[in-house]
């Protein structure tokens, strides 16, 4: 999801990008005056409000504190929450820690959470991340299919006292504590002042986290956050973070190389050389992202499961990973990323292994493939080499006339995919916001789950199996294995890679730490002396 948006913005404005990036290099180490300050290259966010932001995860995770935090070792710790408990996985009681305040000094109460979640859910507000609260009872009342909603509050949220509230879900869901962890930003609290003027709040958001925003947000200007003195949680290792917007992440990458910037993500075209250029300062964080090769199941040529399996076996994932991604990814062997607990790695078996002869034999057995195959992907996002490599694989191993065709931009691609208006294989990926198989299976395999037509196969039995697993999972993800078996049988789309999110740092940083969502943990950055 987060990379997806980046793809969208990068495309059209190439010339503008070339003009603008020249002057975007202002932010540098402010370490001269003794403060522990770092800079990070980001995409200009546009919106900062947690319920609305699409590309401001790092900023949000610095300015707000989540209820729970999933650590790298897989344990779930409480941050703002004292406890989150349920007897039936349907009604959850959340108790907050005492003494926490927002940056404006007002206390963080149960009411703050309830009001925030209601604001996020309220249809007319059109908050981009409202899907994150969609499983709370009453969400549909605030988002009627037609007309105005009758109320402004979800009936599933009840304030018990200042530090306790209950959440009633539409069905049993064992993964709820994960759904309020660090990257589910729509679940962050907002202070009372926010609700009076949401636009003003977006210009100057006030959170409950370790850092507070200094000045009002101005588009394409660096955002400076400094450590919040009265923060009740663990003290961060830095005093100040400056988020510097870049229109082209290649420029940010080069700026880190030049020492003008401390942290930047690595664009795909730089992955093969990043290790060589940065050595220890190159980090590839395992992330809950997975890419598939989406197949147009509305086209009869892809109806035979053997055709889909042949396509999968004709793709040389190992070599593509080495050549295009510098070995940063992992060839997929299951239908959810390996970092998601309980993922049955290897379930894909030989279907995910490169075997050109077997693939060709399987395709011939299925009656071959007629006509040409145009692999369609969003242009302008640096994906060209990846899809060209897949097209070459399919052309040479299956004898199909395969080519890779980029769209003009993300919007064109997204529109066509949503409208089922693609007649070849296509780009399909999802970066989950919390590492649970649920967070990958739902968007892909449940209709309106989030990733429309990413895998255009919506089967009742799969949905039922996901619901059952949601209700019964003991916490290790083992309940979702049944779902993956069902998917394997139909094999609606070949899984390609378990993704990593890659970053490079300047000499000012000795260690960049991550969490299972794949982003750097900015409160725990270790500075070099």
């Amino acid at each position: 999801m987060r990379r997806k948006q980046r793809t969208a913005t990068a495309g059209v404005l190439l010339v503008a990008a070339m003009a603008l990036t020249a002057c975007a290099t202002g932010g540098s180490d402010a370490a001269d005056d003794g403060t522990r300050a770092i800079t990070m290259g980001v995409t200009d966010p546009g919106t900062l409000t947690p319920g609305r932001q699409l590309v401001a995860y790092d900023f949000n995770m610095a300015v707000w504190a989540p209820l729970t935090f999933l650590e790298s070792d897989g344990t779930l710790t409480y941050v703002q929450a004292e406890s989150i408990e349920s007897d039936d996985n349907t009604t959850w009681t959340i108790t907050l820690k005492d003494g926490w305040t927002f940056h404006d000094g007002t206390p963080v109460t149960a009411q703050s959470y309830v009001d925030s979640w209601n604001t996020v859910a309220y249809g007319p507000n059109a908050f981009e991340n409202s899907g994150q609260v969609a499983n709370i009872v009453g969400y549909t009342d605030l988002n009627p299919a037609e007309g105005e909603p009758t109320g402004t509050e979800m009936s599933g949220l009840t304030v018990v006292d200042d530090s306790t509230f209950t959440v009633e879900l539409i069905g049993p869901d064992s993964q709820f504590p994960l759904q309020v962890s660090q990257a589910q930003t729509a679940m962050y609290p907002m202070p009372e002042s926010a609700f009076d003027d949401l636009d003003a709040y977006n210009t100057h958001p006030i959170g409950n986290g370790p850092f507070e925003l200094q000045d009002d947000y101005v588009e394409n200007e660096p955002m400076v956050v400094t450590a919040y003195e009265d923060y009740a949680g663990d003290e961060p290792t830095t005093d100040q973070i400056t988020f510097v917007p870049y229109t082209d992440d290649t420029t940010a990458y080069t700026d880190v190389q030049a020492g003008n910037l401390d942290i930047s993500s690595v664009p795909a075209s730089r992955l093969p050389q990043a290790d060589e250029e940065f050595g220890d300062s190159f980090y590839s964080f395992e992330a809950p992202g997975i890419s598939y090769l989406g197949l147009p199941l509305w086209d009869e040529r892809y109806q035979d499961v053997r055709v889909r399996q042949a396509i999968s076996m004709a793709i040389d994932r190992e070599t593509i990973n080495d050549v295009i991604y510098g070995g940063a990814y992992t060839p997929a062997t299951a239908f959810t990323p390996a970092i998601e607990p309980g993922t049955p790695e290897g379930i894909c078996g030989e279907l995910c292994e490169y075997d050109p002869e077997a693939a060709k034999a399987l395709l011939d057995e299925a009656g071959g493939f007629e006509g040409s195959m145009e692999i369609y992907f969003p242009g302008g996002g640096g994906l060209d080499e990846f899809y060209n490599a897949i097209a070459n694989n399919l052309r040479q191993n299956l004898g199909v006339d395969a080519t890779a065709v980029p769209s003009a931009d993300w919007a064109e691609f997204s529109d066509k995919r949503t409208a089922s208006d693609i007649d070849g294989p296509f780009f399909s990926r999802w970066g989950a916001l919390y590492p649970s198989q649920q967070a990958t299976l739902r968007p892909f395999f449940v209709e309106n789950g989030g990733c429309a037509n990413c895998i255009p196969w919506y089967d009742e039995s799969v949905k039922a199996a996901i619901d059952t697993a949601d209700a019964t999972d003991p916490g290790d993800g083992s309940a979702y294995a049944d779902v993956q078996e069902l998917i394997l049988e139909e094999f609606p789309a070949p899984p390609l890679f378990f993704e990593t999110y890659s970053y490079v740092t300047s000499d000012a940083i000795s260690e960049l730490v991550t969490s299972p969502v794949g982003n750097p943990r900015l409160t725990h950055v270790e500075l070099a002396d």
Binding site: T319, I320, V323
Partner: protein, 297 residues
């Protein structure tokens, strides 16, 4: 072309010993450019057999495991990131580049001849309209215009890219035709034809157009070169041709990301591009000199 023109206009403008062909023939550079361009023309006409000279006739036969091989062995120019033979790709790219260069120039030439002749010969309102029209197009930044148009059309084939470049490049040529036609219009043989009562159409086609064509053709040759550069630039910026087209611009665009580690990806398409454009521009200069001895420095 100039060979056909020379005898026709020789009695009128130049003594026989200063004919265009004689001037061209005596310049070694003319022969160098001609040979280079003939070779490129041959490559463009027969890309398959020529790419096959070194055993790799198919530009799309790519083995990812052979990614970015150095020049030598089975791949005389090495392989690109996808493991495709660079020689085969450069050879096929020649076809695309020359096609776009020639098509665009022919399109421009047709528009320019029609509008420029009308404006130059008739003057008055026609002249003013054409002058304003060319002003409008010349006042428009080419790169910006091309990017906007190319981004708004979905499919980008060599033909569409040609059309877009032609759309923005004809005015220069039209102005040239206009001034050239104006010079010829006041020539005595045109006045004589007019006095004899010949119809405008006959005068234009028999006398004015052929005699104003010379300088225009020289510039048009140069233009083929600049169009090829324009195509490469647009493609490099990501708004020109797209894969699966094969073009030098596309190869350069891919190579830029990997230039530091794999310089040969960039070098070979660049050499072909430079040599082609240099030959065309030099040839254009030589032609201009030969056709217009007074303008020679």
């Amino acid at each position: 072309m100039s060979e056909q023109l020379a005898p026709q206009q020789a009695p009128l403008v130049a003594p026989a010993d200063r004919s265009v062909w004689a001037t061209l023939r005596s310049r070694p550079l003319f022969w160098v450019c001609s040979v280079v361009l003939s070779l490129l023309g041959l490559i463009a006409l027969l890309p398959g057999p020529i790419a096959g000279l070194f055993g790799q006739p198919d530009p799309r036969a790519c083995t990812l495991a052979d990614s970015a091989l150095e020049p030598g062995g089975a791949h005389v120019f090495g392989t690109d990131l996808q493991g495709c033979d660079i020689f085969a790709n450069v050879v096929y790219g020649t076809q695309t580049s020359l096609f776009i260069g020639l098509l665009t120039t022919v399109l421009c030439l047709v528009i320019a001849m029609v509008l420029g002749t009308l404006a130059g010969y008739y003057g008055g309102v026609a002249d003013r309209i054409v002058a304003r029209l060319t002003d409008v197009f010349l006042g428009f930044p080419f790169l910006l215009g091309a990017i906007v148009v190319l981004n708004s059309i979905g499919a980008r084939s060599p033909v569409t890219v040609s059309l877009v470049i032609a759309f923005f490049s004809w005015p220069t040529l039209a102005r040239l035709v206009r001034s050239s036609v104006r010079t010829v219009r006041s020539a005595e043989y045109v006045q004589a034809a007019s006095a004899m009562g010949l119809r405008d159409r006959r005068i234009l086609l028999d006398h004015v157009v052929p005699n104003s064509l010379g300088p225009v053709l020289a510039i048009a040759t140069t233009m083929v070169g600049s169009v090829i550069v324009a195509e490469s630039t647009l493609t490099f910026l990501g708004v020109g041709l797209r894969s699966p087209s094969i073009s030098w611009g596309l190869q350069l665009s891919t190579a830029q990301s990997y230039f530091q580690s794999e310089p040969h990806l960039l070098v070979f398409p660049s050499i072909f591009l430079t040599v082609t454009v240099l030959s065309l521009i030099t040839l254009g200069d030589i032609l201009r000199d030969a056709l217009d001895p007074k303008g020679r420095s």
